[in-house]
């Protein structure tokens, strides 16, 4: 028996952002700009996704010289499958709500 999903709307936003161009590695700051999530919300979700094997993290050299290396993130295949399963229904819900309002 599977466990009940407890994903939040913030997690959905992050998964939706990571799902777009799923092969690309992204920095935390870029994800913050893309999702509008604050770092205090973003990092606990990233940690949780990583702990569950849905996200992979790597150290990458900084683009600018003299800057320290940065963490980059992308979905694992399991994470991508999860994101497709989780985010799609909520988008459908939003679309249907918008249609209902219209």
């Amino acid at each position: 028996m599977g466990r009940k999903s407890i994903h939040s709307s913030q997690t959905d936003r992050l998964l939706a952002a990571l799902r777009e161009d799923a092969q690309a590695w992204r920095h935390g700051y870029a994800l913050m700009k893309q999702t509008g999530l604050q770092s205090g919300t973003l990092y606990p979700i990233l940690l949780r996704l990583c702990d569950q094997g849905l996200l992979e993290a790597q150290w990458r050299e900084a683009d600018k010289p003299g800057k320290p290396p940065r963490h980059v993130y992308r979905l694992t295949p399991a994470g991508l499958a999860f994101a497709l399963r989780q985010v799609a229904p909520s988008r459908k819900r939003i679309t249907s709500l918008r249609e209902a309002k219209a």
Binding site: G2, K4, S5, I6, H27, G28, Y29, G40, R48, D51
Partner: protein, 216 residues
């Protein structure tokens, strides 16, 4: 506030955020710290650093709450809360059933070390109030049992018990007002009791909430 000061505060906060991250997540603390270097806007950097401090403490709390000693301490606290709920019903029962030895023994554990000053309250307390406190005590025990068994649903009985406790606290105020006897004279002690109970509930919620994202 100047930009240089903002950046300085951000760096200090970021250092602290990395410091409070649990040992196993030190890498993430470093990652957050290095990310700050890539943020050019000092206002955004400061906001980022504040968020990272929250994230750091959140992770530290999560790690701490999984430790055996934290679970044991919380279990002891919930057990004490349950005992506290049973105390007043037992004292009222002992007094009304005329068990002087037990009444005296329990009276030594009240403010003032003597139950005699509480006699007007013991006489005036309506019968439903000890039942309410006993129900709260039982609910605390249910919450404790479920927590120790790592079963779902320990938070609801805890907060239900807390709610009953607050109703009891509110009801006893009118008894105290009508008799002119104050059970706990120090309001700080009363407030600390409520705060402690709420804090225990919050920690229980943090400890037992599901951290999985996996759907069925």
């Amino acid at each position: 506030m100047t930009d240089a000061l903002r950046r300085r505060i951000a760096n200090i906060l970021m250092g602290h955020a990395a410091y409070v991250m649990p040992f196993r997540k030190m890498d993430w603390g470093k990652a957050m710290q290095n990310e700050l270097e890539a943020i050019d806007d000092d206002r955004v950097a400061l906001r980022w650093a504040f968020g990272c401090v929250i994230a750091g403490y959140s992770e530290r709390l999560n790690a701490l709450l999984q430790a055996w000693y934290a679970r044991s301490a919380l279990a002891c606290l919930i057990a004490l809360l349950a005992l506290r709920e049973f105390f007043a019903p037992l004292l009222i029962f002992a007094y009304r059933m005329k068990y002087p030895g037990l009444t005296h023994f329990l009276g030594l554990r009240t403010a003032g070390d003597d139950y005699h000053r509480l006699i007007p309250v013991l006489d005036a307390t309506p019968a439903w109030l000890p039942v309410l406190w006993s129900a709260a005590g039982l609910l605390f025990l249910v919450a404790l049992w479920r927590m120790l068994r790592r079963a779902d649903g320990s938070v609801a009985p805890f907060f239900l018990a807390f709610g009953l406790d607050l109703v009891g606290l509110w009801a006893i105020q009118s008894v105290q007002a009508s008799t002119g006897v104050v059970i706990t004279p120090n309001p700080v002690v009363r407030a600390a009791g409520v705060l402690l109970t709420f804090s225990a509930g919050f920690l229980l919620w943090r400890m037992t909430r599901k951290r999985t994202l996996t759907a069925s």
